[in-house]
């Protein structure tokens, strides 16, 4: 893949590439910039100069008031507990399912895969009323546990599908070798298959965390008390019947996604670790 071009051309290519990528980056991140400049405006600045103007200073009072009003700390905790739980349980379920379908090649696996995927194909509005009545009946209405259970199943569908697809092309020689060495199925899963799939598992972990963090609809249905609610629901409080508190919304949105960004950055390293190159041999 290494081009054999003179150094100058290589440098020009690099510069062009960078220009293109950075322009694209600006386009992708521009909305974030807008959220940021509005996060620090006073409501008066916003009303007089509009959303696209720069703030005069660093106004944080709106955010502080909002934080207290909705007990944002509590919301952050709820969101974190739910998102991490769902990520872990979701990966667990997906791994188990995909192990059976992709490695074990269970009979009728195509149909099972489709069934598992149904968790993701169902529109959430369709689930709302049945899940509401089930949760009430089981005494789980207005509990974070109900949200964790439901979202774990929904997220694991994607995980099952991705992992099964990847496992289907898993090098059979490794499995054979392990079986010959006397490994049982559980050992096969935990000592060989799971470690090798680490990049994929990391991707799943990040996705599940972020998707669950931003889930709005089902948490809104299943969580009633504000003490149980999550960050997106708290931010929605700012959208009033006739008005919207734009500056506080921006501030709280930024705050609300910080954990996701931190999470994503933490897992960047795992996402880039290359490992299979050697093991296939």
């Amino acid at each position: 893949m290494i081009a054999r071009h003179p150094l100058v051309v290589q440098r020009v290519n690099k510069a062009l590439a960078l220009i293109f990528l950075i322009t694209l980056l600006i386009v992708m991140l521009f909305p974030f910039a807008i959220v940021t400049i509005n996060a620090f405006k006073t409501p008066q600045e916003y009303a007089s100069n509009g959303p696209l103007s720069l703030p005069g200073g660093f106004y944080t009072q709106g955010l502080k008031d909002f934080w207290k009003r909705v007990d944002f700390t509590n919301k952050l905790i709820n969101s974190t507990v739910i998102s991490v739980s769902v990520a872990i349980i979701g990966i667990g379920l997906a791994l188990l399912n995909a192990f059976a379908l992709g490695i074990g090649r269970v009979r009728g696996r195509v149909w099972f895969l489709i069934l598992f995927l149904m968790a993701n194909t169902l529109p959430q509005e369709a689930l709302a009323y049945p899940l509401y009545y089930f949760a009430k009946y089981l005494g789980l209405y207005n509990t974070r546990l109900s949200v964790i259970i439901v979202l774990s199943v929904i997220q694991s569908a994607f995980g099952t599908y991705l992992l099964t697809s990847v496992f289907s092309t898993f090098p059979r020689e490794i499995i054979e070798a392990a079986r010959i060495d006397g490994a049982n199925k559980l050992q096969l899963l935990t000592r060989i298959v799971a470690p090798i799939s680490r990049p994929t598992l990391s991707v799943l972990f990040v996705f599940f965390f972020i998707w669950t963090w931003n889930e709005f609809f089902l948490p809104m249905i299943l969580l009633v008390s504000t003490s149980n609610q999550t960050v997106p629901l708290a931010i929605a409080v700012l959208q009033g019947q006739h008005n919207m508190d734009a500056t506080t919304s921006s501030a709280s949105a930024l705050l609300g996604i910080l954990p996701c960004i931190v999470f994503f950055l933490l897992f960047q390293r795992t996402l880039t670790r290359g490992i299979t190159a050697g093991s296939v041999k």
Binding site: P43, Q44, Y46, A47, S48, N49, G50, P51, D65, R69, V70, I77, V81, V84, S85, I88, Y129, Y132, K136, G139, Y141, N142, T143, R144, L145, P195, R198, M220, I221, V224, S225, T226, S227, N228, L233, A236, V237, L238, Q239, G240, Q241, H242, N243, M244, D245, A246, T270
Partner: protein, 430 residues
């Protein structure tokens, strides 16, 4: 890496265990000593401030009661109220929307407490005029008469905000008839200015539409449309007039075609910036404009030529049927209706129903309240156009957008508005 994941998992487990009590059902607190209040008004708005003062007052009078207040979201309550109130996770008193589609619907399905006796006993029926009571009383899900299922403690109505400086600059006077209003707007158009700030992505456009309808309607018409007390014809004079006017006003440049891409929030901000001389919307902007408009002088007038105006009593306090502390809830509601709290609400830019008018300081607010009282005296409340059926709001937004965009003719748009209206009305009046 595996060790890290393992330790992370253990940490998580610890966290889960530590917060486990939160995971399972609500704490069985001393339920008789707790008052749960929910509302979705902004804490800096007139109602938010007044109701906070009411909570403080309540605490003084009931020192042994714990107040659990939850700041809710409007959209959230609108969407989930039928589910929440059909369970045990209810508050004792909460703010809720008025109208057939909301309070009417819930009352008909037994989710709200009938508070008629309380209203009479505590004199709320004396405080609220019959016009204001309409939204508090529902018979078989239709408002206007019957038992009290909620009570309102403030008012709201739609009016015309205008930029006094710009009116002076262009030599126009406050209009008193619809024709004069059109002339005023024509003057601005001729000067190259779009007169009306309109957020047609959301509710404002349907309010303008409704005001136009009301200019050709009467009380009987309103009662037929809103209270199902008579026949409704979507191709009658009033509706047709309004639909054609919307098209005409867009063609003449009174309404910008861009308005279909502008939400209510932007509409208000644009008026605040002096970009448009006129804005037609509700009293909920009043307090905000008082704080935020600093560059020019502004004022309001009632929609010229109309006896009827969009408006009503404000959102209701309702007591869910499953509430646990109804007596405390009634005490709280009573406090919000008291002169002291009402006067405070007025001074903060809201429209009170029971304020001591001598104590209202700001002349702008005095003007607001007196306009409101004029409507009360003329029995001019026509409520809001999206009330008659659930989900009608979206239909109206769509329909008026199609008129402005020219993608539907007036007849087509009116047909579009008619079907969902009759569909719901039939299920209710059966």
């Amino acid at each position: 890496m595996r060790k890290k994941m393992l330790s992370f998992a253990i940490l998580l487990l610890a966290v889960l265990v530590a917060v486990a009590p939160n995971l399972s059902s609500r704490a069985a607190a001393q339920e008789d000593k707790v008052l749960k209040i929910w509302h979705y008004e902004s804490p800096n708005g007139a109602m938010g401030i007044a109701w906070q003062a009411a909570m403080d007052k309540f605490q003084e009078l009931h020192p042994d009661v714990t107040i659990e207040f939850e700041a809710r979201g409007f959209e959230e309550i609108r969407q989930t109220a039928p589910m929440i109130l059909n369970s045990d996770e209810v508050p004792d008193v909460m703010e809720y929307n008025k109208g057939n589609a909301t309070a009417g619907f819930l009352s008909q399905n037994g989710l709200l407490t009938d508070i008629t006796d309380v209203a009479i006993e505590r004199g709320w029926d004396q405080i609220l005029s019959p016009g204001l009571q309409t939204t508090s009383r529902y018979e078989n899900g239709i408002m206007g008469s019957g038992p009290w299922y909620g009570v309102t403690n403030y008012g709201e109505f739609v009016m015309v905000y205008y930029n006094v400086d710009m009116f002076e600059e262009y030599g126009v006077e406050v209009p008193t008839t619809l024709e004069e209003f059109e002339n005023v707007m024509q003057t601005f158009v001729d000067a190259g200015i779009t007169p009306l700030s309109l957020g047609a992505t959301e509710y404002p456009a349907q309010h303008v539409f409704y005001q136009l309808v009301l200019s050709q309607a009467d009380r009987e018409w309103v009662d037929a449309f809103q209270l199902y007390q008579g026949d409704v014809d979507f191709h009658d004079e009033a509706f047709t007039f309004a639909a054609e006017k919307i098209v005409e006003w867009t063609e003449r440049g009174f309404i910008s075609e861009d308005s279909t891409g502008i939400p209510a929030e932007d509409m208000g901000v644009a008026f605040t910036n002096g970009e448009f001389p006129i804005m037609v919307s509700g009293s909920w902007w009043y307090g905000r404009f008082m704080n935020e408009i600093t560059d020019f002088e502004w004022s309001t007038f009632l929609w010229p030529g109309n006896e009827l105006h969009a408006g009503s009593g404000g959102n209701l306090w309702v007591v869910p049927a499953n509430a646990k502390n109804k007596e405390l809830a009634y005490d709280f509601i009573d406090i919000t209706m008291s002169t002291e709290i009402q006067t405070l609400m007025g001074n903060e830019g809201g429209i009170p129903v029971n304020a001591d008018l001598d104590q209202i300081e700001d002349p702008k607010i005095q003007e607001l309240i007196s306009n409101f009282n004029r409507i009360i005296e003329a029995d001019g409340f026509a409520f809001y156009p999206d009330w008659p059926a659930p989900g009608y709001y979206d239909i109206l937004v769509s329909g008026v957008q199609e008129l402005i965009a020219g993608t539907m003719s007036p007849e087509e748009a009116l047909d579009f508005l008619a079907d969902p209206y009759f569909e719901y009305r039939e299920t209710v009046t059966q």
